[in-house]
Point group: C2
Chain length 318, copies 2
């Protein structure tokens, strides 16, 4: 395999990238906001025309492949597409069952299904999610596989933190992912900063590199260690009302309160890996630092995803 198409089809976002397999270089990419939820909605609207769900989703994929062909100038006929994320869910292209934890870090025992459609010449490799008795994820398992080659060789338990709308904490032991937990940090932040009574007290846009903003962020992190979130969040309001803290700075206080609450239980001598986009990693790095938790390594989440997709695809072929 010289090249493959990496598809990240989440609830609200779609991304397709042409990858050079040898060095994982991104040759071209297409991004839009027709995520799985929107695609499912559009398919339900069309159902009167009795188009099969699989074909409807394949049409959406084909449009993106066409666009990528134009962008890259490459012929993408026959190039396999590896798909991670919500595409394997109940509202996705085809529902695949979750793999139950533990799973092997080399991706060899994850559920992945290879399929062909009438619409596309490309082979599709659909990667399913994983579950425990009480938790689920789809997409992050691929990133975990992509991180595996970068982890230290130790029999000690290691923790991968994957920030996002619904961050995951994934525990690794030996060659397996043994446990994970989902947090609603990013969604809470969006709800509170835009829809709640706190929205009058925060304003986006200020630079996190400004030391005053970082200090406010750290105050939020500290507050979350001693107060319950339901109380600590209200301080975002009183910061503005009683202390005249500017809204742009208070924005980072709220962020600190939420990220601090998420990270509260982490033991300082657990080896922690941060797997995120730079915008998240900066915040989480600062928060972990404030809490005295050393970070072994920061891994770019995009790189981890692409690397994981290649590894899962390789495991599938052998």
């Amino acid at each position: 395999m010289e090249r493959f198409l990496s598809c990240d089809w989440g609830t609200s976002r779609f991304r397709l990238r042409l990858i050079q397999a040898t060095d994982l270089h991104v040759l071209a990419s297409v991004t839009h906001d027709k995520g799985i939820a929107e695609t499912f909605r559009l398919w339900k609207e069309q159902r009167g025309k009795s188009i099969r769900r699989e074909e409807f989703y394949a049409n959406a994929l084909r449009d993106a492949v066409d666009e990528l062909e134009q962008k890259s100038g490459a012929l993408l006929n026959d190039v396999p597409i590896v798909i991670s994320g919500m595409a394997s869910s109940t509202i996705g292209l085809m529902e695949l069952p979750y793999k139950t934890l533990p799973f092997q870090l080399d991706g060899s025992d994850l559920y992945a299904e290879a399929l062909y459609t009438e619409t596309l010449n490309n082979r599709l490799i659909l990667v399913s999610g994983v579950r425990t008795d009480r938790d689920v994820m789809r997409g992050e398992e691929t990133k975990v596989v992509g991180c595996a080659p970068l982890l230290e060789h130790t029999e000690k338990e290691q923790l991968l933190i994957l920030p996002g709308t619904h961050p995951k904490h994934v525990w690794i032991k030996g060659n397996q992912a043994t446990a994970f937990e989902t947090y609603m940090t990013g969604e809470f932040f969006d709800l509170l900063s835009v829809q709640s009574m706190l929205s009058d007290s925060v304003e986006a846009g200020a630079d996190f590199q400004d030391p005053a903003n970082q200090a406010c962020f750290c105050e939020g992190v500290d507050a979350s260690q001693t107060s319950d979130l339901l109380h600590a969040a209200f301080m975002v309001r009183t910061n503005q009302l009683l202390k005249q803290i500017p809204k742009t700075r208070n924005f980072y206080y709220l962020s600190g309160v939420l990220i601090g609450a998420e990270l509260r239980g982490i033991c300082a001598n657990t080896p922690v890996y941060l797997v995120g986009a730079p915008k998240h990693s900066h915040l989480y790095e600062r928060a972990l630092n404030e809490l005295g938790v050393p970070i072994v390594k920061i891994i770019d989440a995009d790189t981890a995803l692409i690397s994981g997709q290649r590894l899962i695809f390789s495991a599938l072929r052998t």
Copy 2:
């Protein structure tokens, strides 16, 4: 004073009641949803006509007094109106400064201002809120004063819990309220059950008296004691996805998670008073029971408000 008008003017709701002062009997009432936020918005729209804020709010009050006159058949000219809540805030009828804690439980050192307007013949008594270095409330201080005659005589610290959109925990020692904290429990519940990804997993309307719903509520309370709220809330999703828990029952799980998180820090040997409307008191009573915290007394929040207004009014006159 034989009668007075009790006005509860909150952010999103208005209520005016004619009270028989001797026994606090409610003779008639008017309720609508022109809360302080809406009234402030309407006043800003009218500002071109340069009507003074005080008069604009007094007009709104006069309309309600007129309606109450018709309902009750009583002449309400000259009957004093005691107003608690957001009417004394920056967006209220007239901004009054917060009283800084501690405050006397008999209401004698709260800020209350008596005023007359051109629009109304009624004297207005506007009660201000209270603050600490880090927290504020407007309205609950009046309820606390109303509860005071019902508390046990003890030098031990006592805790009043006032559920609502933004519940308050108020600590009492001797004849003073010495500390309080605001929680965002009710607002979090509304945001999560209506606007978040959890909204697909919950449905309002089931009877809390159903033992299955109470059991689910208690599971939520228990989950909140060992898990962070950001994680425990996600179980509302997996309850439905992995355990097929009905949405109407899961609604109470979410409620249990949030109320449990609010009550987590309460020590079992602190004397606790619950000051709420029945719909809240039932839930909080069950949660405190699940946590092994005995309740000294349940006090109706409405009764406490009216009683507090009478006491503050009396203290003002002497």
